[in-house]
């Protein structure tokens, strides 16, 4: 049976059982254990990890490999796991950061927030730094 949530951000959402992600140990700082991923066209760079237990709890998360070409996770996760990092949003794109130190590893409907022991895994890594650098590079070439 699908779970229905009345999200404070996105309105009513129906979540199929197979889309449910259980974090047996939760996320640090929150009581919720059951989540799902909500994708929206407007901000497709992220998906929202939305609680099924708290309609007001949702965190933007992103695939770190999309933003950080050198991203590494140690200890290595299972091969079939999806990896996300939480995103600290801001009014300005250059102030967005991602938490590479504590990624979310999701496999077979089970999620875990793990500690990343890889070198350089920052707690607040500028999310759009590589994008900005690439844009600046192409402007330089154009000039």
């Amino acid at each position: 049976m699908p779970t229905t949530i009345d999200s404070t951000r996105f309105g009513r959402i129906e979540v199929a059982p197979e889309s449910e992600i259980v974090f047996p140990h939760g996320l640090v700082g929150f009581d919720s254990r059951r989540f799902t991923l909500v994708a929206r066209e407007q901000d497709a760079a992220f998906v929202w990890l939305h609680s099924l237990e708290d309609p007001a709890l949702a965190l933007p998360v992103a695939d770190p490999r999309r933003f950080f070409s050198a991203f590494a996770l140690e200890p290595a996760p299972p091969a079939d796991a999806a990896i996300y990092v939480t995103v600290r949003a801001s009014e300005r794109l250059e102030d967005f950061t991602a938490n590479l130190r504590a990624p979310l590893v999701i496999a077979d409907g089970i999620g875990q927030q793990v500690l990343n022991e890889a070198e350089g895994a920052a707690l607040r890594a500028p999310l759009f730094a590589e994008l900005a650098a690439a844009a600046a590079g192409s402007e330089d070439r154009a000039a």
Binding site: D43, F67, T86, L93, N99, R101, Q112, L123, F128
Partner: protein, 74 residues
């Protein structure tokens, strides 16, 4: 809080599957070994606090107030 005195090499057992060992004490520093199930999160407290702060900051995001996002990278 339960307070227990231990010497280097001595252990504390929590439940059935967590063992905390005092490995070494040197001046102000204690080296602690923790054997726990792999899926049990073990954090240094200051890291736990900082992860909590990042999680809570992430959860404060308002989708209606996000700036226009750059096109997705391939």
């Amino acid at each position: 809080m339960l307070i227990i005195t231990r010497r280097p090499g001595e252990k504390i057992v929590l439940g059935d599957d967590i063992v905390v060992t005092v490995m070494e004490i040197s001046g102000q520093t204690a080296r602690i070994g923790i054997a726990a199930p792999q899926d049990l999160p073990v954090y240094r407290e200051e890291i736990w606090e900082s992860v909590k702060a990042e999680n809570q900051a992430a959860a404060a995001a308002d989708p209606d107030k996000l700036p226009p996002l750059p096109p997705q990278q391939s």
